[in-house]
């Protein structure tokens, strides 16, 4: 007869299993939904950066012509890639995961198939990240229409956004397992997402901020994303950029661990 200990040990063994077919199953689900909503999602992804460029680029740009050696329009255009990566990943991570788990019970249904929680979480996060990788390029394309010069480094922007969005999508999924109700996301948005967005160097350089904020900003994954994107567009700094990318990967790995743990706690009795 198995004992409590045996059962828990079995679970640990199961966690190590990873199957591509299981991930493909979750992507198939997402794709079916995406076919229904791609127009609205794409509309928002393309027009939001355009409006931001008009507002910040021409609005602030008329007051500030250059920052840190960059034309202000180029500074904002590249910075908004980070904003796009954040918003197109953290919100789906939070709201989709909460609704599918708590309201629609879609995850319960999916877990009756040969799909485990860690595969479900990974499948959802990678789909979110893949979408963000595409939509995250929109600000750069818009910025090019506003005069940003193309460069070969721009080709790696989807990879940078994918890594960033993976981490933030997983962060969103994790928060969906800890909030007591969907309304509680307001705390996360106001208390975490907005500060991350503001101290990422998107609209102004962070070295203009007080010293302690500057230090705190180093722990903001979005800052590393924004810095990497700017370097990709204007010229890489290999060692520094490796550090930025490592920070993004570390963030994604940590978020994966806690998101899987949180989802397991919520979905498995």
């Amino acid at each position: 007869m198995s004992t409590v200990t045996t059962v828990r040990t079995d679970q640990a063994v199961r966690l190590r299993r990873f199957e591509l077919a299981a991930l493909q199953g979750t992507w198939r689900h997402e794709f079916a939904l995406f076919k229904r909503y791609w127009r609205t999602t794409s509309f928002a992804a393309m027009f939001e950066p355009t409006f931001m460029m008009l507002a910040f680029g021409y609005g602030f740009g008329s007051l500030v012509s250059a920052i840190g050696g960059y034309r202000y329009l180029d500074f904002v255009g590249t910075g908004m890639v980070g904003t796009a990566a954040l918003f197109t990943s953290v919100f789906p991570g939070m709201f989709n995961a909460y609704i599918r788990r708590a309201f629609q019970h879609t995850y319960d249904a999916m877990l009756t198939t040969p799909l485990d929680v860690h595969e479900l979480v990974t499948g959802e996060a990678t789909w979110i990240a893949a979408k963000s990788a595409v939509y995250g390029c929109a600000p750069v394309i818009v910025a090019m229409a506003f005069g940003l010069d193309p460069s070969p480094g721009m080709l790696v922007i989807p990879i940078i956004v994918f890594a960033t969005a993976c981490g933030f999508g997983l962060f969103g999924m994790w928060t969906s397992t800890v909030v007591p109700s969907i309304n509680s996301f307001d705390y996360v948005i106001t208390g975490v997402v907005t500060p991350l967005f503001l101290i990422a160097g998107t609209f102004f350089p962070i070295n203009a901020l007080p010293g302690w904020v500057h230090i705190a900003a180093q722990f903001n994954p979005l800052l590393h994303c924004v810095e990497l994107v700017r370097h990709a567009v204007f010229g890489f700094r290999p060692l520094v950029d490796l550090g930025h990318f490592a920070a993004l990967l570390l963030f994604a790995a940590l978020m994966w661990l806690i998101a899987v743990r949180g989802m397991r706690r919520r979905l498995i009795d």
Partner: protein, 318 residues
């Protein structure tokens, strides 16, 4: 990466003896509540077992443990020969689950829901369209396949739920309260569908608190109470063993019902209270003198599983 063989792949079939499900000494606690308490249960391959009991008896928890969506605190579980939860993924590839709760994706069409699950169940790509078509035919939903789920009626959604659990032609189907909340006509339709599964040799474990459903569909019934099986057998055998052939129901004021219970007990006949009535079981053995004392106002009917359940547990099923 390790892969799970598809249920549709004949090479994936192994020999597990005659048992599709085996639970031994299974305990599941939620805090201080023991939902399943040392449960022993075996389901032979190709049979339909009805898991019968009131709300809170542990039926749904048992179902969730079979898919590893609930983890037992102790005991052992084997599904289709695979130890669960260690090999639950393999077991899930070969079983279908129809949950009590409607968890279809409302934003997708009937067909899209089935396509997603055919993918999740690892139906090989070339066979997916045919598998989805077959499931739609089985559920009589071919004409509504392109309708979004939120525009389907309750009965159609229930049929789609069953089709979703069968899209990969599983060897074992878990039906958790498959007809709860449905009107009698839709229920009868679903019974036909489940009957078809049995006839096709699929093993069915069906939890229900509808006595009629269990009597109509199950080869055997296991009566659960407080997380344990308190009796098991064919519906007719259980009724004959625990409630006899006939029951006489008497209605009246409380004092009269107490009097009837006293008289029946004096004759060695079991009774059960049902609101404003008292039922005397094994009425076919009632001595003529007692029948005279009780008078002609009793209503005679055939004994049923609900009588058995109340006699064994003191609880009502519904």
């Amino acid at each position: 990466m390790r892969t799970v063989q598809s249920a549709a792949d004949p090479t994936a079939r192994r020999s597990y003896g005659d048992l599709a499900i085996r639970l031994h000494g299974v305990v599941k606690r939620f805090g201080t509540l023991t939902a399943v308490d040392g449960l022993d249960l075996e389901v032979p391959s190709g049979s339909c077992l009805g898991l019968l009991g009131p709300n809170g008896a542990g039926k749904s928890t048992t179902m969730r443990m079979l898919t590893a969506q609930a983890l037992a605190d102790s005991g052992s579980i084997h599904v289709l020969g695979y130890p669960v939860p260690r090999e639950s993924k393999r077991a899930r590839a070969e079983m279908g689950v129809v949950p009590q709760q409607d968890n279809l994706d409302e934003e997708l069409t009937a067909r899209e829901n089935l396509e997603v699950f055919a993918h999740l169940y690892r139906v090989p790509r070339p066979r997916r369209p045919a598998a989805v078509d077959d499931a739609l035919t089985l559920a009589h939903l071919t004409e509504r396949q392109h309708t979004r789920v939120d525009n389907l009626s309750g009965g159609m959604r229930r049929r789609l739920l069953i089709a979703r659990g069968l899209v990969h032609r599983p060897r074992l189907v878990l039906l958790d309260e498959p007809t709860v909340g449905l009107d009698p006509q839709v229920r009868a339709e679903l019974w036909g569908l489940i009957d078809g599964l049995r006839a096709g040799g699929t093993t069915v474990l069906m939890s229900t608190h509808y006595i009629e459903e269990a009597e109509r569909l199950a080869d055997e019934c296991a009566l659960m109470s407080h997380g344990k099986v308190v009796a098991r057998g064919g519906p007719a055998e259980l009724v004959a063993e625990h409630a006899g052939e006939q029951v006489v129901e008497h209605y009246g004021p409380p004092q009269r019902l107490v009097e009837i219970e006293r008289l029946a007990a004096g004759a060695g006949l079991p009774t059960r209270r049902t609101g404003p009535s008292v039922s005397i079981l094994r009425a076919e053995q009632m001595p003529p003198s007692l029948a005279d004392d009780l008078g002609p106002d009793g209503v005679r009917r055939a004994a049923n599983l609900e009588d058995v359940f109340v006699v064994l547990t003191g609880e009502k099923v519904e």
